[in-house]
């Protein structure tokens, strides 16, 4: 190995060390933050799942009333969609478009 190669290797070694140091420093500081973000996302996910499946658990879905007025707007799009998917008739009882 030439001297230039040695210098390049030493420089790469230093760069790796500094990079690891910065990554470690970031990990120290973001530990708490990461936990809070994950918890917040889990709360949102739990609410979403509850809204999706609350009817199955016997809880009336409050979103149903609010989205009822969207029905006429969605009907045409839904009809086109199920035909595109190869289903000649509406697969859902709630959407009687045809």
């Amino acid at each position: 190995m030439t001297r230039a190669d040695d210098e390049r290797a030493a420089s790469a070694n230093w760069r790796t060390r500094i990079k690891r140091l910065i990554e470690g420093y970031d990990a120290v500081l973001s530990l708490q933050h990461r936990r809070e973000i994950v918890r917040e996302l889990q709360d949102e996910e739990d609410l979403f799942m509850l809204l999706c499946f609350c009817d199955m658990m016997g809880i009336p879905n409050p979103v149903g009333d609010m989205t009822l007025e969207l029905y006429p707007y969605m009907l045409d799009r839904f009809h086109e969609w199920h035909k595109r998917q190869g289903m000649p008739r509406s697969p859902l009882d709630g959407f009687r478009c045809c």
Partner: protein, 584 residues
């Protein structure tokens, strides 16, 4: 004496303490087992229970426990001279704080990562839970009042720091949204935020127009403004109202929006602050000009020193962090020594540089005595002296002293503000829990509980009147903050001792610091409550401090009784209640 020798003495004691004493505690007393399955592995959920590298966890633990408290206490306690303060910081850290923090991690680790409050409930029962809640309530109330006073005082003394501190809020919100909505690392945005903050601080220290100096806006000094308030009192009132409005909003927002990104930025500030001061010390090698022992004191150091320096020597708050989050992330049980004991040493280093900064500030011993003329003068001017002393240390690195002082003021205010909004949030949770406990669900509501927390804290900070009139007496609460913090540490040490006794191991290493703390607390409070705040003899009566001091005395006696009862209790019954939680 050259201050470097003091730093070397402290560092050598800390290294020896870690190398020998913590090793002895780990092997002979706590008996750490490398094969023990930690809660982080047993209950791994990707959120709270996550096995974490010990260096990363130590850094996280240290940045969570370090704040403004290990700066304020030592800056006041140097009143008795730097030697007693240094000795208490060093010996307290090595023999009390290290064992306490380390013990809290181990105890929690052995019981599913439960917090100290839950363990107190399991070990002693419902009474202990209520005692624990009331002590924490008093502690957070004191934290809110003391740190609101600290921030208002620094804003008035160092008006160049205000702009930078307020700029941090939108920057933190920006980082919070950016990371939450678009993910990615916080490192670069937070470094940019820090650069903007420090740029604003340096600019404001040079340009008077950017200094938000309410006292001069109100006409300066003793000018009567309105309602019998002079300019300084009015400035204080305005800052307290602004701060309380801010903490109300900050503590009701989701944590990722403001609190967490601010904590992240402040963690950089801890590193910057420590590096600035220790490098300034090494380069400047200043002499300690404060007396080693102050012979002209109006209040004896014994036992007040032990409650004036709480964080930095031993602090119950560390037990909350150690058992609340740290123990749930322990990869191996043997890491507890490095993280728990090492975290206490980091806090000791912060307290030590605070003592050195104040001890090297003055031109002579006479100047020191003129500023620290009495214990109440020390309470009032200690923090300002630290900021100036730290500015002087930073000056050794080529930073002009006034700029250095502004930077340090920004750092201390940031620490205090983070502690303040975290404490208000914590107080809200405790009020809600007490509301549920006593069948008053209305006060458990978020905005009702927060309003109670904010209004009582504001009342407590503005009620004590110091020698300079309205708003100047917030520092009178400092001994109460220290005692409530030590009480919490006493509970943790008691629980660790009870656990050790049930395991048939020696308890002297945890029981002695516990008894020492509780006796000092009881003694200090008895002295203050009976001979000072009650109006005994020539002393001025202070009903507010008398009430809180009496409450703390009652709680201390209560803990001593509970401790005595727990030690006399049937070992098998307690062992069963504990072993049911033992993850082993």
């Amino acid at each position: 004496m050259n201050a470097i020798w003091i730093a070397i003495f402290g560092a050598v004691c800390f290294v020896m303490g870690y190398r020998f004493y913590s090793k002895f505690i780990a092997e002979r007393i706590y008996r750490l087992d490398p094969d023990f399955q930690t809660p982080a592995h047993a209950y791994q959920d990707g959120v709270d229970y996550v096995p974490t590298n010990k260096w990363i966890l130590w850094g996280h633990h240290f940045t969570s426990v370090a704040g403004a408290a290990p700066i304020v206490g030592p800056a006041i306690a140097i009143y008795w001279g730097w030697l007693p303060a240094i000795l208490w910081v060093v010996l307290g850290t090595v023999f009390a704080a290290g064992v306490h923090d380390f013990g809290a991690v181990v105890l929690s680790n052995r019981h599913k990562g439960h917090s100290i409050g839950t363990l107190a409930n399991k070990l002693i029962g419902q009474r202990a839970k209520l005692l624990f809640l009331f002590i924490i309530l008093i502690l957070v109330l004191m934290i809110n009042a003391v740190f609101a006073w600290v921030i208002a005082k620094l804003f008035i003394t160092f008006p160049a720091s205000v702009l930078s501190v307020f700029i941090q809020i939108p920057l933190a919100v920006w980082i919070g949204y950016r990371v939450y909505r678009h993910s990615g690392s916080m490192l670069l945005p937070s470094v940019i935020a820090l650069a903007v903050m420090y740029g604003a601080a340096l600019l404001a220290s040079e340009v008077p127009f950017l200094q938000i100096d309410l006292v001069s806006w109100f006409g300066g000094g003793d000018t009567a403004v309105a309602g019998g308030f002079d300019a300084t009192s009015m400035a204080f009132l305005v800052w307290i109202v602004v701060l309380m409005a801010y903490v109300y909003i900050a503590s009701t927002l989701p944590v990722w929006k403001l609190l967490q990104p601010r904590d992240y930025i402040n963690s950089h500030q801890l590193v910057v602050g420590l590096a600035l001061l220790y490098l300034g010390l090494l380069v400047g090698a200043p002499e300690m000009t404060a007396p080693s022992v102050n012979g002209e004191t109006d209040v004896s150091w014994y036992p007040l020193l032990f409650i004036t320096i709480a964080c930095g020597a031993i602090s119950g708050f560390h037990g909350l962090v150690a058992s609340g989050t740290t123990s749930k992330q322990l990869d191996k049980e043997t890491d507890a020594r490095f993280i728990g004991y090492g975290g206490a040493l980091g806090e000791g280093m912060l307290a030590m540089i605070a003592i050195i900064a104040v001890g090297t500030l003055f031109a002579s011993s006479a100047d020191f005595t003129a500023t620290y003329s009495s214990f109440s003068a020390a309470g009032s001017s200690g923090l300002g002296s630290f900021v100036k002393g730290a500015g002087q240390l930073a000056g050794n690195l080529g930073i002009p002293e006034h700029m250095g002082s502004t930077l340090v003021a920004v750092i201390v205010v940031s620490f205090a503000a983070t502690t303040l909004d975290t404490a208000v949030r914590l107080m809200r949770y405790i009020i809600a829990e007490l509301g549920n406990e006593y069948g008053m669900p209305v006060i458990a509501r978020k905005h009702v509980a927060t309003s109670i927390a904010v209004i009582t804290s504001a009342a407590l900070v503005i009620l004590p009147e110091g020698p300079n009139g309205f708003g100047s007496g917030g520092y009178l609460l400092w001994p109460l903050f220290g005692t409530s913090n030590q009480l919490l540490a006493g509970i943790t040490l008691m629980l660790v001792s009870v656990w050790l006794k049930r395991q048939g191991r020696p308890v002297v290493f945890t029981l002695v610091p516990m008894l020492f703390l509780l006796v000092m607390t009881l003694w200090a409070m008895a002295q203050q409550v009976i001979f000072t705040w009650s109006g005994f003899g020539d002393a001025d009566r202070n009903l507010l401090l008398f009430t809180f001091g009496s409450l703390i005395m009652v709680f201390t006696l209560w803990i001593l009784l509970e401790a005595s009862r727990s030690f006399r209790q049937d070992p098998t019954a307690v062992q069963e209640s504990l072993s049911s939680d033992d993850t082993r």
